[in-house]
Amino acid sequence: MSKESGKESGEPQFDSALVRSFQAGNKAAFDTLVLKHKDKIFNLCFRFLGDYQEANDLAQEVFIKAYRSLRAFRFESAFGTWLYRIAVNTCKNKVKSLDHRYAKKMVHLDNPGATKAAHRLEIRDETPSPLAELERKERMELIQRAIESLPPEQKMVIILRDIQGLPYDDIADITGYGLGTVKSRLSRARLELRRKLMKVL
């Protein structure tokens, strides 16, 4: 659960050094930061939106925003936390924007479910047993759909905690919620997911 966060928290000094290097004019330092953090940001976006292509666009946007603001970075928090904050805000804005909803609806009407299924097939191409793989995919699909059905605030907290494996304090810092709010939202999200998934899992 917390293995990812442990892996990341080991290198905040490395991140800071890269940021300083970038601020000193070394553009390549930013590339290193992107390569280091792209997957966890991409995963967050994908779990939040449930669409691979949209997640790709959104994750790129997160790094573009980071690039533009990085010169003003003051090292008040870890680069990873700061980047998560940008990602969370970008996701929230995406959900708010009407065109996102319209685009989603249009996709569903024209070609229901096709986009998602196609991407998921691509991701897990190298799995051996077709039957086991199908079962696993179905399972993943169900979990992802259950996550997507949560209210955005609960969804973000449970992704950050149970998927990204961040500690409560970091989640409060990233989302801007109080610690109590993080706890109660996480509790409600878990109960809600249990209710939705108990029958099928």
């Binding site: 390569l35 940001i41 779990r47 994750a59 573009i64 991701i123 878990r190 249990r194």
Partner: protein, 339 residues
Amino acid sequence: MECSQIKELLSEYMDGMLDKETAELVEKHLETCEDCREELASLRAISEELSSLESVEAPADFLNKVNERIEQRSLVSRVFRSIFAPTWPKIPFQLATAAAMAVLVFSLFNVMQSENQIIGVPFQSEKARTDKPPATDSLEPAPVEPTYQGQPTLQKAVMPEKPAERKPIELVLLLQRETPSRVYSPGEGAEAEDAKTGTGALEKEEPFAAQKPLGKRTKQAARKAESGTGWSDEKRQHPLAPNEKFAGSSDEEAGKSPLSLQALSKLHRLIELEGGGVIAEGDEGVSPSQYLTAEIPAKNYRSFLDKAGRLGVLQSSPSAIPLGDREMILVRIRLIPAP
């Protein structure tokens, strides 16, 4: 603790986020409650299910795409800035709106004001020219005459305003028969005469009468005046008569209206006493009335009115109260002899 309360704490208990005491309470409850144990187990299963979800990785060209978009954006913004930045200072929308409104209101106000000037001023100057004896020191705006058809030209608008300013305050002094005896009998003997004519108020005239050095002569003159003759003699002899020429001219009219002549000379003295000066005087032809134009210091204007009021019935419009900022007040007094 009830199950519902415990169930709310299970999520935190699972993550080790509860304080020691609460965690012990939950543990105690879990030992006895099968239902809550199941709940906790299912929550753990969900959490583990989520954390075991495979991390969806970004495509291989992710970094390139990001850099491409950064390049594009910086190029676009550079072009955009180079085109618009110099002529596009950042003004807050509200500020810009407020400024626009201020300009609009100010310009409207200006237009309205200049209209007023064009329409308003000609009326005033026309009135000043046509009405030879203006009613009062007109402080109220000139009435808009519907017959006025003149073009509101600027030439008219900039007509000199001085005549309007120098418009005298019109006063009418209706003389009374008793007046001469009241004023011209300050001596001891006069008192008897006062008693005879039934008029008192001698004391009130003291400051005025004290200026006259020849009490006996005035007494004499008063008697003559009462009989209707000898006024001109008195007038010539009077040391304070301000204008010999006037005295001469009034000689011929002495028979016609001695009272008004007498009053005229009194007015002359009164005006001088108050620090003013007579500018013009004369009669208006057929009518027996006479007029006198004089300047009186504004500060003495009230006392002048008071004293002039003792010569007869003084009529002045209430709007004739002088403006405080003027030094000298121009008055035009019309004397109307008692019938």
